[in-house]
Symmetry: C2
Subunit: 214 residues, 2 copies
Amino acid sequence: MEGDDALGPDATIEGLLEALASNRPTPGGGGAAALALALGAALVAMTARLTVGRRRYRDVEDVMRGITSRADEIRAEALGLIQADADAYRAVSQAFGLPRETEEQKQVRSGRLSVAAESASRVPLRVGDLSAEVIALASEAVAKGNRNVISDAGAAAALARSVIRISEMNVAANLPLVRDADLRGEFAGRVDKLQERLATADAVVDDVLGGATA
Amino acid sequence: MEGDDALGPDATIEGLLEALASNRPTPGGGGAAALALALGAALVAMTARLTVGRRRYRDVEDVMRGITSRADEIRAEALGLIQADADAYRAVSQAFGLPRETEEQKQVRSGRLSVAAESASRVPLRVGDLSAEVIALASEAVAKGNRNVISDAGAAAALARSVIRISEMNVAANLPLVRDADLRGEFAGRVDKLQERLATADAVVDDVLGGATA
């Protein structure tokens, strides 16, 4: 099971950290990325929740409720993706371990590797897409939310930015194993689109810093 | 106590996320940053641990042992800083709540705010300094460690980068409350130095991506 007790939502923080730091290959960077995504989603929701119910921000109350609702969904999905990432990684490892002495064995192994690598790419792509959403939610929360707590939404954007970069690395590691060239092209295109969000995340943090010194 | 049960090392991941997402001001971005720092330290240690004991990497075994040892220390300190950040934030909040009707009250309040804001700056500065260390450790782990798991060290660098930006926001929010101009200058200088590490973190991730496609 390779440390999977440490991956569920009831796991302790210390247990997850121990499992990450250990010499077992899972959980690894992809799992940490999914957790960082959950942290970001939680922080956006916090800014929005601390905006709702304040007279000065009455006009944006519906927007803020929309943000909390979507951010809470993302947080829940992100928690599940910690386990999904470990499962996908393990399937790739197992495929690597298949025999490759005969031509038939090589074909079987390469096919299994391709299927496993596809899953191991889809998980970080999903994590990346949700991070892009967190950056968009954070941008709105910083622009319209309670000025006293916009730095929490800014923190969400910073964390989501790092998650996109981690997703990029994890897709890059798996992509060469995917046999279908069209699928490789599609995944590479999705990674490129995610890259465009890095600058948006930086701008959200800069907005917070501008507000703090104004 | 404002959700502090959710902050200790025995706290569950789900509990901490709930506390972050709630409409209580602590824990917030600073606590999430300290946890992201701990995640980064754990991931650097993982790459180093998966390098030790492999014949191909025998020459860097001592370097890798040094990395795990320091990364484990940073992880432990980071966990404590989650609570320290919440405590420091609360002290600032309490000072804000002091009466300011008479001149004397205003003086007392401003003095208390200054002391609290100094602590609330020192915590993110420490978190930032440790993140800079994680980036340096990650850089070494990516350059010399087990090629199969360098993306975990790359993930550490990406996370540490986001932590530096969060620290920057949290120092900026508190700095104007610090009365001592010399101290404000010192803190601003430390933040500037931390900024220089962002490019290093980006380079570590780019190195991993270069290795993955080579």
